[in-house]
Subunit: 341 residues, 2 copies
Amino acid sequence: MPKPVPTQQLIDGLLRGDRLALARAISRVEDNAEDAAGIVQAVFAHTGKAHLIGITGAPGTGKSTLVSALVESYRASGVTVGVLAVDPTSPFSGGALLGDRVRMTGHSGDAGVFIRSMATRRGAGGLAQASAEAMLLLDAAGFDRVLMETVGAGQAEIEIASVADTVVVVEAPGLGDEVQAIKAGLLEIADIFAVNKADRKGAARTVAALEMMLETGGAAAQTIMHHGQRMETGAASSETDAGEGWSTPVLETVAVSGGGVAQLRDALERHRAWLNESGGRAAREGRRLDHMLQTLVQAEVLARLERALTPALRGELVELMQRRQIDPYSAAAEVIRKLSR
Amino acid sequence: MPKPVPTQQLIDGLLRGDRLALARAISRVEDNAEDAAGIVQAVFAHTGKAHLIGITGAPGTGKSTLVSALVESYRASGVTVGVLAVDPTSPFSGGALLGDRVRMTGHSGDAGVFIRSMATRRGAGGLAQASAEAMLLLDAAGFDRVLMETVGAGQAEIEIASVADTVVVVEAPGLGDEVQAIKAGLLEIADIFAVNKADRKGAARTVAALEMMLETGGAAAQTIMHHGQRMETGAASSETDAGEGWSTPVLETVAVSGGGVAQLRDALERHRAWLNESGGRAAREGRRLDHMLQTLVQAEVLARLERALTPALRGELVELMQRRQIDPYSAAAEVIRKLSR
């Protein structure tokens, strides 16, 4: 086995924008390598410049194609972009996917684009943490925009809200996603809705349903979508909490032909400007760092607990409990005492 | 407000089999009252005698009616029964439900039966812990059999395996539950399958499908059920891990008329005898107490963490991170230091 590249060399390289160093640093974070924490610690002071964008949507919405088109649009105006494609459903590492993505976007020769896939080697919670850290590395490496793309799968699309400055939720006509959006709480996290494949039948209805959901806060539109047709509702308009002064746009895109992509990029830029002016950016970063802090502390505490509550100790206490010589609460107190020592 | 009954009085009453004391003690555990742990500690030495039976199944299987019929069958032979009906989907406490259940079973005047509903006031994890503790209280109160009934809803039917000596999974014809059983891992936790509403069309097919699943370990039957008809499979029989010497029976019951209920009770008694002879009972109790120990320790550790990581401290550390004067890992280490002090 070749000797691993020293941590400091990776850090220096990453901060210079060296792609190989960046890729290796992300791998160390992904693998939760021994120096993963040290890398994040060292580059943290250089973060906070990039606009962090989360893009989520159900499979079949053409989300990946939209991300590629968006990257192209950014590059056309000279803006550099780092992309993290996170798949919480796949246990495979980024290797193979990475190649596909680079080919797909046609940006393999462009130093202003860096694309990386991440999968769930460390479990769902670990992946969320690793992804948040990888975002910091891309930010520190100097990319102007950092995009994180996740498959809308259960918890993941909610997690994205705690990682990004701006969240784009991608929908498509005829997937029944409007209802899904409400169920999963996507309505609350979306800063921008993109109805992709907008050249398909039903696009107008999807747009209308989303707009009505945004107006009424979800309740009315839920009825509409369940019945599969638009109808008048008497529900009072209960303003959604999209943040003061930002009205969540519903955009139509056709990613394969690039249709509407410039408008999506414009909306992202407008949201970025709004975040900066309103103080929303600092607020979101604060929530993000608070979330990261709590995750790190909890992980450390539980790791310590696992080290203290060895199988031998567990076996010993279970035996005492089975003989009714100690009760579960006293046994737990015994473990806590050992932990505090 | 009337003065609450002193803890010691509840404990003494419960151990004498006083119903009101038992009901109050369960409420304290359910509410996670200050003396909840003390009650469990005090009665623990008196537990380990009852046969703990878990009964789970999807809504619509007639699970509750089956439990009532089973209680009646036990009572006819002089065996006392405590019943805990746990609904992880309902946020409401047992009060109202309790009345319904007592009326329904027609045992309101029988001192040999105690029926109690529990709901999810403490959240899913809290409910599981409270239910496990309530089982201990019913055991200590001297009931010969303690039944825990849960709605088959996600995680709950798996949790039941860590609470009971014997698990009965209730199915019904035509619900597509055979496939659901495999998905949720019910096949692994079932000691007895009861196909209720066995007078309905499709019962024989449900029984056959379950028997084939048990024979093949699930894989073959999954194909069968997906195609909706029985067919020969070449799959090798890969014995399920139902425990050595116990072959999971698939019984037909018609709870409303009492059909097959005596056979279900017999199967439960046979499983109980088998557990005692094979040492399986001690093994399951050990797993159960190990699980309870880990849950208690983890809850205590996380409670301590929450006390240490105050909003003020979080706010302070987030501000330092936002100024890039401290990184997330160093901030986390700071919290851990405070926690250990």
